[in-house]
């Protein structure tokens, strides 16, 4: 890669990060505002099944004692001023400091997300290239059909189906958790327990990526440059590897970057089915319990993922395709 291209990626990164700070502020503010407009009452979440016994007056006292009576804007200010000093607040949904919830769960979600994306990208490359280079052929038809069907099946069903087939029937993999029940966490057992959720998470992203890559490749195949290369008599293999794939990879990277946050959404479902102790579950729980501090940090992390995903995609595009100007 040339020095100027590297410099361009650097400038791009700095610009995006500068843009990310106000974005985080706005998004977190919006998260607090939207959450406060939701029909859920954080006091009901706190009281759980025993909330029925209180008078309205007693509920007000409880609200005050628990600090649930402040407006969403002051709750946000409280949260953001604490977060700047490294204090992320206390999670009502988990009865733990938010920092502890993150420490216990973020790593597992990251591991699952990373493994899932590797699965997704590898499979999507294999299938998308196979289908794209022989568009209209038998393999293309089969792959496209499978992708469309898979895309239409909810990830939840895919996950349960995978459990039934691979865990319950074939007994290849464990059904849930980080380890076998009661056992300590080791690298080997975590890896064994990771396989199935990572496969399901990855596979659930494959249709978009594979179909996107197929489109990009067929597009590139029809371009003037490729037709020109064929006309110059270059061997097919060289045309494919030297022209078609680099041209198709830029939109593919953009697609991957754009789909990254989907991994978090998909992780929510996959984590639930496989009892994988990550942040996906925590996202739903914190939203239902109006657990502002946890909800805010999860939202901010998601924003971070979106920004980072797009940045990585654009940087990769600049790196592989000299014609791209990126942010310009």
């Amino acid at each position: 890669m040339t020095r100027s291209r590297r410099a361009r990626i650097g400038r791009l990164a700095v610009r995006r990060l500068l843009f990310g700070v106000p974005l985080v502020l706005v998004v977190s503010l919006a998260a607090f505002a939207l959450a406060s407009a939701s029909p859920f009452d954080p006091l009901d979440a706190y009281l759980g099944g025993s909330g029925d016994g209180y008078t309205e007056a007693e509920r007000e006292v409880l609200r005050h004692t628990l600090g649930l009576d402040q407006s969403w804007i002051s709750a946000w200010w409280h949260w953001i001023s604490g977060a700047v000093t490294g204090d992320f607040g206390y999670s009502r949904a988990y009865h733990e400091p938010v920092a502890q919830v993150l420490a216990e769960r973020l790593g597992w979600t990251a591991l699952l997300g990373f493994a899932g994306s590797v699965v997704a990208v590898v499979l999507a490359c294999a299938l998308g290239i196979t289908a794209g280079l022989r568009a209209g052929g038998f393999a293309d038809k089969v792959i496209s059909a499978i992708a469309v069907v898979l895309q239409a099946v909810p990830p939840f069903i895919v996950a349960l189906g995978a459990v039934l087939l691979f865990a319950v029937t074939l007994r290849l993999f464990p059904t849930s958790g980080l380890t076998d029940p009661g056992e300590p966490i080791t690298a080997a057992s975590a890896a064994r327990h990771l396989v199935l959720p990572a496969l399901v998470l990855g596979v659930s992203q494959v249709p978009w990526l594979a179909l996107g890559l197929r489109e990009a490749i067929t597009g590139a195949m029809g371009s003037d440059a490729v037709r020109g290369a064929h006309a110059r008599g270059l061997p097919t293999r060289v045309v494919h590897s030297g022209h078609v794939l680099p041209m198709a990879s830029a939109p593919f990277f953009a697609l991957i970057g754009g789909r990254l946050p989907e991994l978090l959404v998909g992780a929510t479902v996959v984590e639930t089915v496989f009892a994988w102790p990550g942040l996906g579950d925590a996202t739903v729980d914190s939203a239902r319990a109006l657990d502002f501090p946890l909800l805010a940090i999860v939202t901010v992390l998601t924003v971070g993922l979106v920004v980072a995903g797009n940045l990585a995609a654009d940087a990769a595009a600049i790196a592989v395709d000299p014609r791209i100007e990126a942010d310009g």
Partner: protein, 540 residues
Amino acid sequence: MLFHRRPSRLLVTSLVTFSAAALVGCGAPGASGGAPDRFVVIDAEELGRFNPLTGHGGNGESKIYESLYRVAEGQDDRIPDAVPVLAEGAPEPVDGDLGHWRVKTRKGVTFSDGTPFGPEDVAATYNAVVDPKFASPIAANFDFLRTAQVAGPDTVDFLLNGAYGDVPHRLFLAIAPSESLAAPGPADKLPLGDHPVGTGPYALTELRPDQVVLTARDGYWGTKPQVKTFVVRRTDDEKARAAQLAGSADGTRLSPALARAVAKDGYRTVVSKANDWLGVTLPSGNPVAGDAAVRLALNLGVDRGAMVRDILQGEGTPVSTLVTPLFGDAYDPAQDFTFDADRARKVLDDAGWRVGADGIRQRDGRRAQFDVAYYPTETLRRDLTMATVSDAKKIGVEMKPVAVEKSTMTPQYLAGTAFLLGGGGQPYTVDTQLYPKFHSRYAAKGVGSKWDNASDYVNPEVDKALEAARVERDPAKRAKLYRDFQAAYHAAPGMLALVSENHVYVLRDNGWQFGATALEPHSHGVAWGPWYSLARWTRK
């Protein structure tokens, strides 16, 4: 770079990668049934809420904590006895005063951190639960209690807010060490939640986001349990729980139909009777729902038996007055409503509700029509609402189902709108079931919670029976007073009680022998069912 290879080679490479990954995973999956003294269950609740002040172990079901009394198992055909655990014998009223009770505490008991247990721990725990500074979510269950105090060595006194006859059944709170409650603050921030210290047969040895491990405790004052390790995992979704059961767990709770589908090949179901009822409020503030004839006709016109059979899959009982056979001599079967649509129609005819052209009745220009609100997210409530709506239509009453969120349920809304209500959180006294639900004291605005007497029902005969029963110590006389209540209620019902559901558990049949289950309140989970008596399980 990936893209400089030939596509076919890429495909092969990725397939090889996957086969390798599959081989790594090829070890034996967790055969939890293999460890003979370990039992693994999947709960639907969040793991690690071990704080008595947030409701953990509130009926003696905790494995870590113990209470003065717990619910006896094997007595699910009536209100179970209160079995002394940390108490020696039954509580006694001091000088016959039903507002002042004395309990002797057990000697020679230590907490899992080695500190001795005594009456000061009992007093500290009960006082914390009613202290607003702790903001305990279960404080409302203890509104009868003014304060608890140490009254001598191994003696604790309970001073109540008035005379109260049925005291042992209100003393099920799990007891924490007084030291852990020294600094008042919101209950959910107490260290006890993650670092429980109790006198019970198990101690927490691991708390992870995905599993909790409880281990039988050395130094426990009672018999050491034979199940040495109790592992609890968590999965919210019941279909996922059913799938995981076959792989790595020994038991969980499922809905009746799913439980029956899963209970084969070495698994079986255990059904626990529960007092977990559902019914429709008929508020006095609504001119149709609050009409005496409409209330009576609906009670006669709904087919509760069909609801139990079709909606609960047989796992439940019809409920007419909130008093059920569980309440023993206090229950009068003659006061239950039997399904009689013809009589229902006659009641409405006699009251002047005439059938209109569209089959819906009218009186003085008013249609026999009102809304019934329900939570659409809870399938059981939804199904019962629809069944009620359908039955009501057959006798000429149009109930319009309205799906609502919890926040819609303001006291004002409930005062005019019928609602599918659930209850039974504190099922272990007849008084807690009936008094707040039917006494006219709770019909007044701002008294009690919005769910108390949500129909704003006023019936002086009902009031009289409930008040007299609350302070009556003679069980036979008290039972008679509750039968009087039922007769008065039957003549002029205040709501439309429907059914009570049982709880269904599935577990692996792996050689453990356990006794009967305990009668369960609304709360359920892996602390209940066959696991209520976990510490007393034996090997076949």
